[in-house]
Symmetry: C2
Subunit: 364 residues, 2 copies
């Protein structure tokens, strides 16, 4: 299998390599006739330029790197859809690295990306203490970087985030207005920016309702799985007065559901529940889950646009290019005030987006 490169084409056409190259790159000073000849043969032989040679020569890889904590997660997979959408239109390739919320893996990925392998990087932080230092490498090498959702502070870098504080505030207030007296907050242990913001929003909403730190019930667990479910169960046993849960991430909504079921606590009568989530399935649970839903796809697009602008202009995507998008609070049966109706599932069929029950909360 002999390779199809410029030399091969040139020989078959009795032209020089340079001419063939220019013809294919649609250079000014090549006759239409030879352009056509060259292109015809190139197409026929399925010529594709060697990407590494081209990258080496032009010092541009037409590739971006994406570093995300997880991929089995509706939020991040939607973000990736948005990124891929823009990248494809820009004729860019997408390298993907998963950190599983492990700072070591994140650092390793960043190290690999700091070598000129990619023209830009999109990253959602694993939340390690060493994160900022490691990520700074990219900035120092002049590789455009945009952070999304889970960001690191103290870097002059564009961040695509959502209004976590306001949304968490609204979600907590929503529970209180639905009649909850004691609202617990379940979040992830660690240094994630989004969790810190959501916790702030939770506390602020409590304060506004005249509930001080002593009234707050906060539980930080580690990731999804049975441990967090057990932790929530323990919390509910310890604090039988808890009648509302605000979960900071999707996986904790699931654990909360399961914990309530095991303890025989009925949602929304005994306990009301709301959570950040982008899953299309959680609104189908019984009762349907009220959610704060982030504009994940658009976040991916926005982040990608920032990085491509930086690549095009040759200037880094600085903090002044940051963008904060609005999340949507969708009210469903899991936070319904008052006693549960006869049929618990009648909220289900209203679609997520244009739901009559969907109310976008204004900033507090």
């Amino acid at each position: 299998m002999k390779p199809v490169n410029l030399k091969a084409l040139a020989q078959q056409l009795n032209l020089s390599i340079a001419t063939v190259s220019r013809a294919l790159n649609d250079s000014y000073d090549i006759s239409q006739a030879t352009k056509a000849r060259v292109r015809q043969l190139a197409a026929q032989l399925h010529y594709v330029p060697n990407p590494h040679a081209r990258s080496l020569r032009r010092n541009r890889s037409n590739t971006i790197g994406v570093v995300v904590p997880e991929i089995t997660n509706s939020f991040f997979s939607l973000v990736l859809n948005g990124i891929e959408d823009v990248a494809r239109q820009q004729h860019y390739h997408v390298l993907i690295y998963l950190t599983h919320d492990d700072g070591q893996r994140e650092a390793a990925a960043v190290e690999l990306l700091a070598s000129g392998r990619v023209d830009g990087v999109l990253l959602s932080a694993a939340g390690a203490a060493t994160g900022p230092a490691s990520v700074r490498q990219l900035v120092e090498r002049g590789i455009p970087l945009v952070l999304f959702d889970r960001v690191y502070a103290g870097l002059d870098v564009a961040c695509i985030t959502t209004d976590d504080y306001a949304s968490a505030h609204a979600a907590t207030r929503h529970l209180l207005q639905a009649g909850c007296r004691t609202v617990a907050h379940c979040t992830l242990a660690g240094q994630l920016s989004v969790c810190a913001e959501r916790q702030r929003g939770y506390r602020a909403a409590l304060l506004e309702a005249g509930l001080g730190p002593a009234q707050a019930v906060e539980l930080a667990t580690s990731g999804p799985g049975p441990e967090s479910q057990a932790a929530i169960e323990a919390m509910l046993r310890r604090r039988p007065d808890v009648d509302g849960i605000f979960a900071a991430v999707e996986s904790l909504a699931l654990s909360s559901y399961q914990a309530c079921q095991r303890l025989g606590r009925v949602i929304p009568t005994d306990i009301k529940l709301i959570s950040f989530s982008n899953s299309p399935v959680l609104p189908l649970l019984t009762p349907a889950l009220s959610t704060v839903t982030q504009p994940a796809f658009r976040m991916g697009q926005a982040a990608a646009e920032r990085v491509f602008r930086a690549i095009a202009t040759g200037r880094p995507a600085r903090a002044d290019q940051s963008l904060e998008l609005r999340s949507e609070l969708v009210d469903r049966a899991s936070t319904r005030p008052g006693p549960p109706p006869g049929r618990v599932n009648d909220y289900v069929n209203k679609p997520l987006t244009n739901s009559v029950n969907s109310l976008v909360m204004a900033r507090p």
Copy 2:
């Protein structure tokens, strides 16, 4: 920001470029002393070899390409986890391309990958008629290729699949044994290998129960979304005798749930439901969904292993390296025989994996 390359290191160390290169590559014939000196400076300056130059020279990119239909899909995202797991251990990078079940996009991705950008390709077919021809390009260029789950026939290429026929057969029989008289099959329109196999399994199970083609109720819709829900509703209205649904893909299970709810058909009393699915959430629905669950993570690992073996040996991963893994049929409330109990949710808390109710079906 001047680049840190071999030349820069060589100048600072008063060595030749070649020596530095060999020192860093741990070549035999370099003194320990200079190796140490070189490495120390390299580490200090954060030297990382230019990947494109290296790829060009060694004709190896340390990158694999993955082409998948979707990423917002628990099956494919788990497969990707498996692939990434192996790739990281092999110090390989992962390029990802989404086809959204569009043959054009698949062909475009394959074209891009056929240029030597990657050392191997993992692909799950979009199911286009032009698919096999387009994919054959890779084989002809000598780029190792492994197909997984949704495969193309007629290629001498390793395929990682599951026992779709047997699982579909078992799922259908499961419905019949639970008391269903008229089992409908909902599947995706198109040429997907897995759907064809699952349909075959469905028909075979019907036949064994003495039900001929006239008794089959088959509905092929296009992808997720409201259209398929409407189609299922229409089917249920047209055929009020349908008392069981076997959904070939996860999204159709959701649509079926919603259709039943809108029509007031109670699961599992009026209609029993089973579906292929890897979602951790569907078992939490009310009633909990019975599923055929594929070993997605292991499929990703197996596919990646095949491609790396091919890369290492320089020989293509031929059809004789194919592997068929077993799926698991997990019985839950949505296929419970007899009338529904007082509390509908008591199956929920048994985890998916080591569930008492989980029965792995033998081949028929």
